[in-house]
């Protein structure tokens, strides 16, 4: 597991990048997370996290086309890398295995 540690927020962002395949950019991701979680999150924290994820190699990016509703600015579009997918998978497996190890009795309490 070493080296692939994902924080909770990082995981959320990474999941969203994977979810919005080919249309994952800062504001879009922010909207998505806000919608799904109902939490209020700041745009800058998403950008910051994206930057970190890219540095860690979980995602890559390319500059997308400029659109008028962005004042002619290009988007940076993120895609999940194989390493990222592996990390997601590992996290998922870890969680589900731990989840299934919870004794039945706990649920009945």
């Amino acid at each position: 597991m070493k080296g692939t540690y994902l924080g909770e927020f990082e995981e959320l962002v990474l999941l969203t990048v994977a979810m919005r395949y080919d249309d994952a950019y800062g504001l879009g991701i922010t909207d998505e997370i806000e919608q799904k979680t109902g939490r209020k999150i700041t745009l800058s924290s998403v950008h910051k996290t994206l930057k970190r994820l890219e540095e860690k190699g979980f995602i890559t990016s390319r500059m997308g086309g400029a659109t008028e509703n962005r004042g002619g600015r290009q988007k940076r579009l993120f895609t999940i890398t194989a390493y990222g997918k592996k990390a997601l998978q590992q996290t998922y497996e870890l969680r589900s295995s731990m989840y299934h190890s919870i004794p039945k009795i706990v649920w009945n309490l």
């Binding site: 950019y25 700041t42 950008h47 509703n69 962005r70």
Partner: protein
Amino acid sequence: MKEYTPPLLAQKFLRWYCHPDLYQEIEGDLYELYIRRRKKMSVLKANSLYWLNVITFCQPWAWRKPKQFKSFLITSDMFKNYLVSSVRSFLKQKSYFIANLLGISVAVYCLLLTIVYFQKETRVDDFHTNAQHLYRLNKKIISAGQASESAESSGAMGPYLKENFPEVQDITRVAPWWEPTVLSWEDSDLKVNEWVFVDANFFEIFSFEVLKGNPSEALRAPGQVVLTQSVANALFGVEDPLGKSIKGLHEFDYVVSAVVADPKETHLQFQCLVAWETTVPNSGFYSYNFMNNWLGQTVYTYVKLFPETNPELLKPKFTSMLEENLPKRAEEYFPYLQPFSEIYLHSSHIPYQRGLKLGSSLFLNTFGLVSLFILLIAVINYINVNTANVLPRAKEVGLRKIFGAYKKQLIVQFIIEALFLAALSFAIAYLLLFYTTPYTANFFNAPLEMNQFLKLETLLIAVGIWLMIGLMAGLYPAWLLARFQPIEAIKNLKSKGKSSQQRNALVTFQIFISTLMVLGTWIVFSQTDYMREKQLGYDSEQVVILNINNGIDTQWEGFRNKIKAHNGVQNVSVCQATIGAGGWYGTTVKVKGIEKDIDVRLFRIDAQFAKTYGLSVKEGRFFNEQMASDSNAVVVNEAFLKEVGWSLEEIRKGKHIGGEGRAKANLIGVVKDFHYEPIHQQILPVVMLLNTSRRTNVNIRVETAQISEVLDHLQQVWNDAPTRYPFEFTFANDAFEESYGKEEQLSDTLGIFAFISLIISGIGLFGLTSFTINQRTKEIGIRKVLGASTQQVILLISKRYLILGALAIVLALPIIGWTAKEWLQQFPYRIEGYEWMMTVTAIATIFLILLAVSFQSLKAALVNPIKSLKDE
């Protein structure tokens, strides 16, 4: 789709801090978000949220790397590099760097002093809210073909103006009393020098702060007196002064009606303000007609005009006023209104202004000009050293150019270098100020305080000067170097020509200024010295004057006899007049055969007067109390003879003055002219007469060896005498000392500044020659190899500077000659023939240039040519 633009400043801020790689995406996202918000909410809210976003993004991860910060023209990396190369080039020539640094520091120091002093002086009287509409009633006097100025007017003029001139809104009169007086309350006595009679509306016209009492009622009734806070504190301590009765001028009782803050930044000085009514005949306890009639000219009248009135238009009306009320003087007096705000700085042409504090615009301007000169000299040094030293830097510049530096960048680099030096100079100057401000009182009447230098306003000016120095010092060398072709610079080709011409001009200018300053100082100094040393026409060394117009005068005879008892006392004259402490008065006399009355100074004296002061009798004799006829006789001075045109022969035959309806008096003698006023004043006709009814002064001639014993003796006699006045005396020869203060201040300041400028330009010249010689070592070597003698080499190098020096002197002499003539014009007794000083200064300047240059050139000429030629 509607155009929405996020706040521009926020965008700029984002663009400034944001890492270029991240910028596009972040701004894009923010824009999208902004558009979305604009559709939902108000502009203000959307804008503030945009700002909030921009600010939340401002975190280290989104910042540019330091290197990527771009400022005006240069990047921070380059900036650092410029500083490093500045420091290196400074270190390469440590001694020149230090000389330049100190030069500019001293110049900045002088300039800062000037600025603060200027601020201080130009703000005097600014606090009076009426200042804009206030004027003082001055007059020009044209009498016997001579013009003079006076700030005094008749006591009757003010009220007349208020009544008859529709332009005049209000007037107020101010009359400082001539002599000090003593205030007494219960056991405490206090001597005050500034006892001033003022009109009841004084506090309406002027904005002095009344601390206690009702200002509008404080000066109405006779005998009301307003004290300044420091006087009130000294006299009453913790007691409330209001309503207390104190003893004051002429032993009368006065009632304290108010307390006012001490006057500070104003030309009006006072310790006690006394209700004008006190002086009005039949109303106050004095019947001072001379302060309330048309003839007496002893009062300052301040006039408040209605807004938008042109004071010039009143001039003809003044003439008709005089014709109506004072026809005797209507052809001599030309009253005019001087703007109130000009009184403090622009009144030095008016000779006699009793009891006012005045500044001098001449001193202020000289001071300002001179410190600018010093700054110029120091900056020129910097420029000269930098342009003379162009070659080593040229290599650096060449390299920079080859690696793609823009011309603009190079210029910025050299300006930054100059700014760096200037910044260091400011630090040193402020440090100097910090240690020296307590001593500035010697030059300025009051010490300047450090916090005046740290005021925002002064600091802003300082920043302005800093930039100015940076530009002045940096721009020319920068331009010169940036112009270089890199290939020339690298190849070490000498492309001097033009720059050395400019340097010649700058050196000439430096020598020019230094010559001006040295010569100017010398002339001011010798005039001051002349005035102080001039023979006054009497022997004042050992005369002590006591004023006894304070109760002792009624018992003067016993007082005199007690004084005489000491064997150190050689002579005592008890009368009204003194020389050095006033006591004489201006009046007019009639002389047979001359139509116009003659203005004279009237000395009421006793027979001992001439002996006590050592006046020398030129013709005839002095008074003799034994001769009854002498009570009807006069003695005059030489100036009187000149005025009426009598020769000594005519006098021997017998002359008299007066007659034709006035008292007639025989002329029994003529004394040599003597200075009864400071040497600034012309000696006017003097008439002396024997008058024993008014004895207000004791003039005592003392043997020099016993002076301190006699003073002790005098003190004892005084203490036994019936007076509440403290023992005080004046030495006749000290009396005029303080009147030379203005000239002394000027000569002291000029002296120091001239010295500084000499040193700075000397250092500059020294540095410049050593640079030029460095560049010419090979040339000198070759010349020597080919047989040039040491003298020829020295001449070769010195010639240029000598020519420049001569040129500077030729330019400076006419200017200083003209200025000195103008300045000396104001003194009736002045130094003559300062041409020799010019010659001496010229020779000394040439000599100093030789000194600065020859040391270096001798060094160069003595070097073995092998040394200078061996390496190539």
